[in-house]
Symmetry: C2
């Protein structure tokens, strides 16, 4: 077998919104590989080409890692500068953010967050930082800048790259599962998403830049893959690069390379051979390393929210940790839990957050989709930004950057932490002495109320924000929601231990008077629980959390909360936010996690149904005209080739696209081909007839189509579609062809069996 | 479809040394599941049974985690007690190890490692700890105890459980890939392996207990799975429990739950759906938690080799780290590197360790297998133990427990570290001040020489030890080899920086006079490199390393070394130690990492070859006698059922085992079945003939066999065998049956294509 199928240009490519055939693409790649291996003994130039081919995968992921790291660095620096622009400016060098501005002034008292070099907007206009007038001016500038950034972001997305909105993860999951969405990962999407995410984060909207970072990295992966035809021209191979790029995206978003690889494995990717695991690992490493070298945050630790707690956790604390896991996901109101016994069990948890968030967000997105609201995306963004800014400014915990808030909530109260959250009635005598447990001061009480307000505000605003037509991610808001809940619960536990140190649950560790409860740890566990509830990650979540915080000692609490959150979440509603958005948008995604539970057979699903005839091509008795008529009259993407109309024994399968190309090519190039020419798919010489010379199309015939018998259970068929990445399979009975099952048929059947509308699936 | 196939007892089980059919087992499980779901509406008892069934997976992994944690705790405590028994005894309470003995004496000066409660053997016999006589007595007792432990371990293995030897990981990989090895995971193996590993570790042999821990955990998983028929009676489902158990094994071995899950995913498991990922995660968590609660090491940290370094690494250090990665794996002598260009490139690296170790160990194991040595396993163990003990005692770094050695090598020289390894010319004035860089004292020079001797000794002894008929693992020796190399290189780098602080590579960080190079970090990186080179792990390796040491900040160096080690290792020889031992023992393991590169077609591989006839059964024209004759004359494991001898169109597939059982059952139970009865595989009523009533066997017929066409490339066939877990596939041409490809044929073909002897594969 030689590489003849490339003779006709365009063969092996796909149209937009089509499914790819993994087996065929991978076979094509192996054939190309063998050709190169064979050829490289010919000359030195071919040897070089062979070496280039062997290394191109590694070079490509290296480049993806490099670019992803750089872009992430630029985005971090830009977003930080623009966020500070809402509060003031560095008149000497307007391109510096507050930290850099104050750093250049060499002032040591940076702790207060301000320095003489940095001018708040109120200072420029009223020359004072305090007072009612200054507050009003600051408030006004805060809102104006936010509106400006949001307007810019929304307009850019609307004008240049409509695909740049949202987090992009549902679409990337769909693309990686083998679907073509042209220009979803193109250069315009990359540019607008990068600029847009800076703007929308700076606008103070309740969103994060982590999800979009995955999309940006995937764009980089897609664009760079075109430098290497091995990947750029083969959709199945390209997805290996995209998987690695997704890992790099998470890696730079959180500074968590291993977490990124696991996220790509667990959540995003579909086809993930071990070779891709190693490449992803390398790509994520390079990206994290580049970002660390750029050092946009200017801190010493390579981890984003580095925490260090004095005390280990105590055994009893597992109860509140698991409780946080449950609170993190449970929905409010009445839910029909279908997980436990597949019967309708009503229960009424008091919790909130993840499940409530998913349901409310979906309801709102559905409302947006089917109402007039969807026609005014920019106005919607402006209104949400205005409301967010107006509510956020008065509360210091919502006014600050969400990442800073999370860091504050995770951290332990020590001598250096001056936030009201650490206003305990205790005196520090020595840096090294143990911190004693103490009663909460008025600052803590006020902070708890403000945090509860912040929780409510963030929860509501995130519901309306996620799904708007600006780039927006969910990780940081989810972490913030969980961290607030966790910190409040943690402070409650701490005060309980302070007031009742004698009860048995605290007796071992708290009796010495040390601070045995660390509220920051509760914040960390809570953050993991909500993020787990929203995205349904487990292993990758725990790894990301402990790469993010450096808290290796707290694996057990994190795992306990993640498991609790996952279980309760699955019992309440099986889908995470990404799967829910995939279903909402009708993407043709065959979930590899759900098991197909029904007893239908291949015969029930295949096309044609009874009373219809199957469109087939015979191997040596149809003319060019016959085939062109068939192509006009039917819309299938491919046609089985059979022995003859009477003996429908299967010979092979031919794709509509290939057939079109081959016929057009033959009419253009080969002499003597007319409408009456026989089209022949066998290698045998046809009987000499008097008509025009026959057209031989054996080379476009797939002689090895995957077949199943009509008695094959659909669970096996679904399994084959998933694992082998099929586009269609042929159904036979005792060797005779009965019908075809395409991926579309499978997806529709799955929807139908789950009592959903099968026509919501977007396809072709 | 109802659960009729269970009517005949024994159907669905496998014989020893057979391959399982994943699709069939999973289909069987889904059928059972649906039956339970349907039935649980009948009564409360059925509802309870349904709930039990739904939770049994989680309950089973919970139990596996609990038992694994407990067994690991017992092994750790036992091994530590017996190891100390070589040196002395606690006369007041002989069941205490040295640490516990001294701890009970309340002495504070434990740092020296001895206390008045603990009696060295020399003290008991000569009442002195020092001097020549005491040394000789200690030496003698050390050797005697070692020989005794080794004798016990080897005898126990030989007498009660021959499967308990070695690390078990190659066999577990094979079992998880779908092969049956009866009693490899049975209760006797469990008991003997647990006792044996304590003994062989205590004997001071150059081996670790981490690999066997995976085997022990898998035994626990296998035994406990019989409590839940869902898993115990279904080989495919049982492997989900075994995957989780393997994760728990690594989790308790290193205190690394996430690393355990990744090890199970990357290295051990074959079929790893996401549901198994979560279960493994849970199982590993429980096991680690139980072990931590038992706290056999008595230390505060939950990580085994907790390290804390003052200084971050500097950029230039990546060069020595990658160098360590390369040294870690490269082989000595001339190798034919086939990785880079698939041509013979000769190169001559100076490095040692992993590749050398693998090649030498394989050579020795092959020698053992084919020579008389293999007949005297106990003698061999005794000789190796004697030599190890004699060489090990004089050198303090080999005399100490290997885990202690690794911990020492990883650690930073601080005020509390009194080992000669930390004999630098510096004075500590303040605990908190930075450690200044200093010249190495005579203690360090001596320690480096001793370490190099220890490296050589451990390398040689491990080559002879791994593969002996005692339980023995490779992780700890590999880590030790790498840690020694790394520490030595690190000390070299440190002294270089001390002597030439001005050269540009050190200029940034070392100019201040602080200790900018941490030799302990080099030890850590070196350990990762050698372990990576030996086992070819990547992601799981890095995760295990940083769970083991708590060094989240050192991901980049660890990843760099792991990647370098993996690349160089793959270029020198593709197989890790486990794959090499699988090949050595001829296990039928179809590696999912290797790509099948050849252009053969299914027609080239299938049985029968030309000139042979295919043994088939017709659907309605063979008698019981015909089939029994066929069963006697052929030895196939299954037979295709076709329409008729003339029209060999495929109807289905029937297994030999099922056919035997069904015929025996029919003769016993059903009246009127004689040798002349027709056997009918269709549901149609046969034409009324005058013979005895026909035997209907449609229910044992698999109506949905997987088929491929004869033109299917073998790469696709291999891919289907891997991904769908097939036992055999049928080959057709234009619907007509041509032949069968079994897993055995595939494995033989792969071997043949790789120019290896196809008859080395152990099968049936």
């Amino acid at each position: 077998m030689t590489d003849t199928s490339d003779d006709i240009p365009g063969i092996g490519q796909y149209d937009d919104f089509h499914t790819i055939d993994w087996q065929r693409d991978i076979a094509r790649d192996r054939m190309r590989h063998r050709y190169i291996v064979k050829k490289r003994q010919d000359s030195f130039w071919d040897l070089l080409k062979g070496a280039h081919d062997a290394w191109s995968g590694w070079v490509c992921v290296l480049l993806v890692g490099l670019f992803t790291g750089c872009v992430a660095g630029v985005i971090d620096i830009g977003a930080s500068w623009m966020t500070d622009l809402k509060f003031g400016i560095c008149p000497q060098a307007f391109w510096l953010n507050r930290e850099q501005c104050c750093w250049s002034s060499n002032e040591t008292s940076f702790d207060s967050g301000n320095c003489s070099q940095w001018y708040a907007w109120s200072e420029i206009f009223t020359s004072s930082r305090e007072g009612f007038g200054a507050y009003v001016i600051s408030y006004f500038f805060y809102i104006m800048w936010a509106m400006l950034f949001a307007l810019l972001a929304a307009s850019l997305v609307r004008m240049f790259a409509p695909y740049a909105c949202g987090s992009g993860i549902p679409e990337i999951k769909t693309i990686l599962s083998g679907f073509i969405i042209r220009s979803y990962l193109g250069k315009w999407t990359l540019i607008i998403k990068s600029v847009g995410i800076m703007l929308s984060v700076s606008a103070g909207l309740s969103l994060g830049k982590e999800g979009p970072m995955v999309h940006i990295a995937s764009c980089i992966g897609n664009i760079l893959s075109y430098l290497f035809p091995k990947y750029g021209r083969n959709e199945a191979k390209k997805r290996e690069i995209l998987s690695a790029a997704a890992a790099a995206g998470v890696s730079v978003a959180f500074g968590a390379p291993i977490g990124g690889v696991l996220f790509s494995l667990e959540e995003v990717s579909y086809y993930f051979p071990l070779k891709t695991l190693w490449r992803s690992f390398f790509c994520a490493l390079i990206a994290a390393f580049i970002l660390r070298s750029i050092n946009p945050f200017g801190n010493e630790h390579s981890v984003l929210f580095y925490v260090e707690y004095n005390k280990p956790w105590i055994f009893f604390e597992l109860v509140p940790f698991i409780g946080l896991g449950i609170i993190g996901v449970s929905g409010t109101g009445l839910f029909r839990g279908k997980g436990l016994l597949n019967k309708c069990v009503y229960f009424h948890p008091q919790g909130f957050i993840a499940t409530f968030f998913i349901k409310a967000n979906l309801w709102w997105c559905r409302f947006r989709k089917y109402s007039k609201l969807g026609q005014y995306p920019v106005t919607e963004v402006l209104i949400v930004t205005f409301i967010t800014a107006v509510i956020a400014y008065p509360n210091p915990y919502t006014r600050m950057n969400t990442s800073e808030l999370i860091y504050l909530l995770f951290s332990q109260c020590g001598i250096s932490n001056q936030d009201p959250l650490c206003d305990y009635n205790r005196n520090f005598t020595d840096v090294n002495s143990a911190i004693e447990i103490a009663a909460a001061g008025p600052g803590v009480h006020k902070a708890v109320w403000l945090l509860i307000l912040a929780l409510a505000m963030k929860l509501v605003m995130t519901i309306f924000t996620f799904g708007m037509k600006v780039p927006c991610g969910l990780f940081i808001p989810s972490l913030a929601l969980g961290a607030i809940t966790g910190r409040v619960v943690g402070i409650g536990m701490e005060q309980l231990a302070y007031n009742y140190p004698k009860i048995w649950i605290f007796s071992g560790e708290c009796s010495t008077g040390d601070d045995c409860i660390t509220p920051g740890l509760y914040a960390m566990v809570g953050a993991a629980a909500v993020l787990g509830g929203v995205t349904r990650m487990t292993v990758s979540l725990v790894v990301i959390m402990f790469e993010l915080t450096g808290g290796v000692r707290y694996i057990v609490p994190l795992m306990a909360a993640a498991m609790a959150s996952k279980w309760v979440g699955d019992a309440l509603g099986r889908q995470g936010i990404y799967d829910a958005h995939i279903a909402l948008n009708g993407y043709p995604f065959l979930d590899s996690k759900d098991e197909f539970q029904h007893t239908t057979l291949a015969a029930d699903v295949m096309q044609p149904k009874r009373n219809e005839t199957l469109a087939v091509i015979t191997q040596d008795s149809m003319t060019v005209d016959d085939i062109e008529t068939l192509l006009k009259e039917t819309e299938h993407n491919g046609y089985p080739v059979v022995v003859s109309k009477e003996n429908q024994y299967l010979v092979g399968f031919v794709l509509r696209r290939d057939l079109n190309l081959a016929l057009a090519n033959a009419r253009r190039i080969i002499d003597g081909i007319t409408g009456q020419s026989l089209v022949i798919f066998t290698s045998a010489q046809p009987v000499q007839n008097l008509g025009p010379s026959p057209l031989k199309l054996k080379k476009i015939l797939d002689m090895a189509p995957i077949t199943v018998t009509d008695q094959t259970p659909m669970e096996t068929v679904v399994d084959m579609f998933r694992k082998l990445g099929l586009r269609q399979t042929l159904v036979t009975h005792n060797g005779r062809l009965l019908g075809v099952i395409t991926k579309k048929d499978v997806l529709r059947h799955v929807k139908q069996m789950d009592n959903e509308d099968p026509n919501t699936v977007l396809f072709n």
